[in-house]
Symmetry: C2
Subunit: 141 residues, 2 copies
Amino acid sequence: MKKIAELFKTLSDVNRLRLLMVLDRKELCVCQLMGIVGLSQPLVSRNLSILARMGFLEERKEGKLKFYRIKKNLTDEKNTIMELLRRSLSEDDIYLQDMEAVQDCTEFQKRTGRCDMDAYKKFMKWRMEKRSKRDTQKEVV
Amino acid sequence: MKKIAELFKTLSDVNRLRLLMVLDRKELCVCQLMGIVGLSQPLVSRNLSILARMGFLEERKEGKLKFYRIKKNLTDEKNTIMELLRRSLSEDDIYLQDMEAVQDCTEFQKRTGRCDMDAYKKFMKWRMEKRSKRDTQKEVV
DNA sequence: TTAATATATAAACATATGTTAATATTAAAA
DNA sequence: TTTTAATATTAACATATGTTTATATATTAA
């Protein structure tokens, strides 16, 4: 009983849910995740390790970078939850924003060929500009 | 996103999970629930209202007693979670103990014809004795 | 080996949460 | 109406949690 309660507790934080769903879309490293969800490095790191410890993620090291992704053989329980999340969030604002950011991140990396902290600071800045541009357009309309 | 996080938070407490699963078996009033899960009255009351506020329970008043049960038309989301819980807990120690207590409670009520605080204090005492008897038997075996 | 960089961990803090003890509310019985 | 009993709510407290800042670890490059 305690185990399931803890499973739910793991999923009771918006930042962790965001990371989980972003990784459900694509394997990513910490600095990419920082750029996508816009959270500090320690916060991303901490929440990733909580998700990993709970058995949702697996980790892979590649040089200095550490990649995370959804574990291949999730338990039935966790698979059910993932399906529930995909269904429930399919029209969620934050979720859709994050999915767009994953897309942008992939393109940004293809274009710049870089994957490091500095590149992702630039990526975040670029995204902010992109978003504010869209918002002012909306205001005009 | 925040909504689902809060849904999970609601389920991240063992006492709430116990109450939810007990009520999944049978509609019960607060004093019966106290006897079954062995928690204080304010604690039972509080957790019931949290579950009700989140949309898991519906309430019904009958004289001084207040009965709670699982809401009839749960959302798909919540139904999925209930099914998950039933599956995941089917062999859980605490869950099985609680289910036995529900059974005992029903019998106790049939036998005594009473449903009030005093009766349930006696019920709890009786259950404690029953359990300690069983435990000493196990030791002998 | 040293310097630089990506990630993890620790310390410190504020906030949130669960729990108990005390009190309020509500409905029935006297 | 007054009293009793069931449930709800509040206040107070301890613990847990999320967040930031600072620091440690580990890997690559110089």
